[in-house]
């Protein structure tokens, strides 16, 4: 469709005209005119909603909201075209079969072997060995070998040694969706562990001997403590309501030596609405400070983030400080339980704060334990009530921790944002389906590529320059502050207003330090080369043995530095060496070179490429931001007269 206008949300003046293409996998908008022909690519799988608004004099507006929080506002001249685009997009954005998803057609030009290597990057067996199991307390159980006991669990689960197959099967029958207690994290230092399950089918009075034995077994696997915590991550009311449906929570009287604890994290529906409300605030055209703060509070989003974090902190404390094992569950044990277990693991174990460890953590607590990625993130057309930003919240928790502990994480904010992007993009097979069983049936590993390998290959882009593995902040358990007067949970504009670069700091400390570190590395190398050359030269000169051809060889060998050497004679020019390092100066504009992924990547795989913003020295169009509602100056090229007219309104 031609002559489509792409509107800038913040300023109606800054619309661009171009052509809209729909392909099998992407919506592509190509700007007319401009030399670069700037392109905006959006994957169909990223589209969360499409809204056709009432036709106006200029055309028919189409609003596309994406799951990675991009909002695209198009105006299509012809109502008919708009309708066609709308209908096509609705169909394209809601595939019904897995085979329609992008990962089955995505080909990053890797051979079979490389792909297999990629899938091997994250290996959970290795991970459990790293934790220190199997050992004399924990063993791997094959009870779920053919998904016979629980179809949403992995085939290999770790259980206490004293838990026999009989106990496990018995316990599974007493748990929702047969998700019996299994090991999530084992603390080598003190034998305390985090286990996870679903809620017991206790109703008002039901008991299950095997389930009681199972919990007993978990306690016995930690000889250092005579009780375990059972943490129900639901609000007490919700848990009680479940009792009426024959589900519920553990009765302390029936289980010996447990301490039962509610931690009120709301359910997926509340969270979905909360995000919705927060995004509405983000979308406000020119909100006042009060609008924004009030809207943020009213959405409850940060309160929910804090609740998840508090639960994680509670568990980490129990394990690290009290040496007590914890069993965590919610209703089905695949949403809140995953959030809380992974936050606690992250706090407890520095390994999970490394890049590789974080991939392992998501693989362990989310992918292998049957977090329903397909349902929660709406990859295939399904029940909208199943959609909820569960892992988004976990990712935000990590970001909030990064704000509090700037040196503790090996990766940076960009790493989190790109993971979030790809959970929705369906470009890689990792997050497809709802369980390991489904993924095996689909032969994901043979037919698609792994995101982890992709991120690992580009890991230089995701490093936190402040991270040092020998720094004190990277060691041991993190103890975050919980009261707002000690630490503020902040609105994450890098995520939720990700595509509005104008709202973000114009200079990135992270990028700057990364560039400096890269330069440092180059300097280290050069230093070595220079020292070697110097030594050689001294040797050859002292031997008074100067063969010209040798020197030529050498200068060829170090051709890279030849030009620098010629400058090195004049001292004034030394400072210019500084500038010869390319990525050094802190860019203000839009040239986030580091944000653009490597060449071999398809455009679509770069989540940041499609952003539009001002090229010029961070110029902000204030007209839309001033509290008096659009009443001041347009930034450039509009005629003088109209400027003044606008002015008066201000």
């Amino acid at each position: 469709v031609e002559n489509v206008r792409l509107l800038d949300r913040l300023s109606s003046r800054r619309a661009v005209v171009g052509t809209l293409y729909l392909t099998a996998t992407h919506v592509i908008f190509v700007e007319n005119g401009s030399e670069t022909r700037k392109e905006t690519w959006v994957l169909h799988s990223q589209i969360s909603s499409i809204e056709k608004q009432a036709t106006t004099a200029t055309g028919c507006p189409l609003l596309i909201r994406c799951k990675n929080f991009q909002v695209i506002h198009l105006v299509i001249p012809q109502e008919r075209d708009c309708h066609d685009v709308y209908i096509s997009l609705i169909r394209l954005a809601r595939p019904v079969k897995y085979e329609e998803l992008y990962c089955f057609s995505f080909n990053p030009k890797l051979d079979k072997e490389e792909r297999e290597q990629g899938w091997k990057l994250v290996d959970l067996n290795e991970e459990y060995n790293r934790m220190g199991v199997p050992n004399s307390y924990w063993q791997i159980s094959d009870v779920n070998r053919d998904y016979g006991v629980c179809d949403s669990y992995p085939t290999e689960v770790y259980v206490p040694k004293s838990a026999t197959a009989h106990i496990i099967v018995g316990s599974s029958k007493f748990r929702s969706r047969r998700r019996f207690p299994a090991l999530s994290y084992y603390c080598k230092g003190n034998n305390a562990s985090i286990c996870r399950s679903s809620q017991p089918l206790s109703g008002f009075s039901a008991r299950c001997l095997e389930d009681e034995q199972m919990l007993q077994a978990i306690r016995k696997a930690n000889p250092g403590s005579d009780f375990i915590y059972v943490v129900d991550t639901r609000p007490k009311l919700n848990a009680m309501a479940n009792r009426a449906a024959g589900k519920g929570y553990e009765n302390e009287d029936n289980y010996s030596n447990i301490k039962f604890q509610f931690i009120g994290i709301e359910n997926i529906h509340v969270m979905r609405n909360s995000l919705q409300k927060m995004l509405e605030v983000c979308e406000l055209k020119s909100p006042s400070m009060s609008d924004f703060l009030w809207g943020l509070e009213n959405s409850g989003w940060l309160k929910h983030i804090k609740a998840i974090m508090d639960a994680g902190i509670f568990i980490a404390k129990a394990v690290a400080e009290e040496g007590v094992s914890v069993l965590v569950h919610c209703s089905d044990g695949w949403d809140r339980t995953a959030q809380v277990c992974s936050v606690a693991s992250l706090l407890l174990d520095p390994y999970y704060r490394t890049m590789k460890g974080f991939m392992v953590l998501i693989e362990k607590d989310w992918i292998s334990f049957g977090h329903k990625f397909n349902h929660r993130y709406g990859n295939l057309d399904g029940d909208p009530k199943e959609i909820s930003p569960v892992i988004d919240q976990f990712i935000e928790c990590v970001w909030q921790l990064m704000e509090q502990f700037p040196c503790a994480f090996e990766f940076n904010e960009r790493f989190l944002i790109h993971i979030q992007h790809h959970i929705y993009s369906c470009q890689f097979g990792n997050f497809l389906c709802n369980s390991q069983k489904e993924r095996r049936e689909l032969k994901i590993k043979e037919r698609t590529y792994s995101l982890w390998a992709h991120l690992w290959k580009n890991r230089a882009d995701y490093l936190n320059p402040l991270y040092r593995s020998d720094h004190s902040q990277t060691q041991g358990t993190l103890h975050p502050q919980i009261a707002p007067c000690n630490f503020l949970y902040k609105f994450w504009s890098g995520m939720y207003n990700r595509f509005e670069k104008g709202l973000h700091p114009r200079q990135s400390v992270t990028d700057y330090l990364m560039a400096v570190k890269e330069e440092t590395q180059q300097l280290e190398e050069e230093l070595e080369v220079l020292q070697e050359r110097l030594a050689n030269l001294q040797k050859s000169q002292s031997g008074n043995n100067k063969v010209k051809s040798k020197q030529q060889d050498r200068s060829k060998q170090f051709g890279l530095y030849a030009s620098n050497n010629s400058l090195a004679n004049t001292p004034q020019e030394y400072s210019s060496d500084l500038k010869s390092f390319p990525s050094r100066s802190p860019s203000q504009g839009d040239e986030d070179s580091a944000l653009i992924l490597t060449q071999d990547n398809l455009k679509s795989s770069d989540p940041d490429l499609s952003a539009n913003s001002d090229q010029e020295s961070g110029v902000e169009d204030l007209s839309c931001r001033s509290p008096s509602g659009g009443g001041c100056l347009p930034s450039e090229d509009s005629g003088k007269d109209s400027d003044e007219a606008v002015f008066l309104a201000g």
């Binding site: 700091p505 050069e526 050497n565 004679n569 002015f647």
Partner: protein, 489 residues
């Protein structure tokens, strides 16, 4: 500020810290409390610490003469000759809150200035605040014109500000009051520039809150920040109710507007509110941070504070007497300067590589504006400072800060001079609470300090390597040159 009860003294400091002392013995406790109270509420300036402070360091450069307007003018005259230094106020008789020398358009003589002074509130006639080298546009500041209800005019005033316009171009008057307040001001003899008499000027009203509203906001915010409860909801609503960030946003917007008029529209700007000693200075100084790279260096920022706040007559002694824990309602108390500093911090956060100084430098200025061993922030204007003989009797903050060993603490490791205009975002998403001030005593700072240390180390190591590489390069080049010479023989 103290609240005493059985054996416990709680001292609430102006830097927002709260100290609790448990003192055994009722009588002793009461004595200490009353002593503290008496000593913290001295009514004579000359009894204050700066007059007794004996510096333990060697003065390398007297801060009292570090930033003279004459130097500024020298700098200015290297690019333009349209301005002159006027000594019309040398005995503070024309305008008591102005410094002895000011910069005015060359074509306006001292006689005209005296007339204009009578037409402006408090004698604050329009003077040059900033000259934009890029396009020769000027930012002026003054107080409101005394038009009164019958629309009095002053030809000299019109001539003065018109002298800053290029022929055929317009200028903008940014009035920091809303229109209705400006209109009401006429009843009290004040007013605003009317179109009839200033046809080349467009007036924009950009409201910036004043006095007790700001002080209340400050008190509410500090209360919220000291609330130890763990509830997220209450925190956000308290932050919202304090309106503090709203003031920040409005102030930044007004400053951006002024900067935009100058840089983008190529127009001269006159900024004033009522008295021209508070919101006016906030706007003019922030606009310079945005426009002028010099103001983002340590020395340049000090010069800005001296020029636009101290010399321009911001009444520090009235505004910064009590800080947030005052229980008595002080009419003149207002965190005007703190708001300015926080806006600088907000811009700093958005352009972290463009400032030579770091956050600690801003916090330092906040502390010393409220309580200091130095005389710099004493008094309400230059005239009072001269009367108190501060330069002779007290030490200047700048004498201390500008020593190399102190300066190093305030340097931003990732500073890289940026000659561009920096336009901050004023969207709510882009503004944050300044935790360095408001959570300073509550949040654990260890991890953030460690991060800062890492940053410094990364840069330091890089510089060391660069130096080493350069030395080696030179050595090599020399040796190679020698080699070639020998070979040529």
């Amino acid at each position: 500020r103290f609240v005493g009860s059985l054996g416990t003294i709680v001292i609430k400091c102006k830097d927002l810290r709260i100290i609790q002392l448990d003192i055994p013995g009722m009588e002793e406790c009461l004595n200490i409390a009353s002593s503290i109270e008496a000593l913290s509420t001295l009514d004579s300036v000359t009894l204050m610490y700066p007059f007794f402070y004996r510096p333990m360091f060697e003065v390398l450069e007297d801060g009292w003469s570090s930033f003279l307007l004459e130097q500024e003018f020298e700098h200015l005259s290297s690019v333009t000759n349209e301005w002159r230094l006027s000594c019309v106020n040398k005995d503070f008789s024309v305008c008591p809150s102005y410094p002895p020398v000011v910069i005015v358009p060359k074509s306006i003589d001292d006689e005209a200035l005296r007339k204009v002074a009578l037409f402006r509130y408090g004698g604050r006639f329009p003077v040059l605040s900033y000259y934009h080298k890029k396009n020769g546009m000027a930012m002026l500041r003054s107080s409101q014109p005394l038009t009164g209800t019958n629309g009095r005019r002053c030809k000299e005033d019109e001539k003065l500000i018109n002298a800053t316009l290029r022929s055929g171009r317009r200028g903008f008057v940014i009035d920091t009051r809303p229109l209705n307040v400006a209109q009401q001001a006429r009843a009290k003899g004040g007013g605003f520039e009317q179109e009839v008499h200033y046809p080349q000027w467009r007036r924009i009203h950009k409201y910036i809150e004043r006095f007790h509203i700001l002080q209340e906001s400050f008190i509410k915010l500090v209360e919220a920040c000291n609330d130890q409860s763990h509830n997220m909801d209450r925190w956000l609503s308290k932050l919202e109710a304090s309106n503090w960030l709203t003031h920040i946003k409005e102030l930044l917007t007004a400053a951006c507007l002024a900067a935009q008029c100058i840089d983008r529209e190529g127009a001269s700007v006159l900024v004033h509110g009522s008295e021209g000693t508070d919101s006016t200075l906030q706007v003019t100084s922030l606009a310079q941070i945005i426009l002028d790279p010099r103001c983002r260096t340590i020395r340049g920022f000090e010069a800005l504070v001296v020029r636009e706040w101290l010399q321009a007559g911001h009444p520090f002694q009235q505004r910064c007497a009590q800080s947030a824990y005052s229980n008595s309602k002080q009419k003149w108390e207002a965190p005007v300067f703190l708001l300015f500093l926080e806006c600088v911090w907000q811009i700093h956060r958005q352009f972290p590589c463009s400032f030579e100084f770091n956050e600690h430098f801003l916090i330092l200025l906040f502390e010393h504006a409220y309580a200091s061993q130095f005389g710099t922030f004493l008094g309400n204007n230059e005239s009072e400072r001269a009367k108190l003989k501060l330069p002779q009797k007290t030490m200047s903050l700048w004498s201390w800060v500008n020593r190399p060993e102190e300066l190093s603490r305030f340097q931003n490791p990732i500073y890289e001079a940026n000659s561009l205009v920096i336009w901050p975002s004023v969207a709510p998403q882009s503004l944050q609470l300044w935790e360095g001030i408001f959570l300073r005593w509550n949040r654990p700072s260890r991890f953030l300090e460690e991060a800062e240390e890492e940053r410094i180390n990364i840069i330091k190591y890089n510089k060391e390597l660069q130096a080493k590489v350069n030395v080696l390069r030179r050595q090599l080049a020399e040796m190679e040159a020698d080699g070639e010479v020998q070979e040529g023989e």
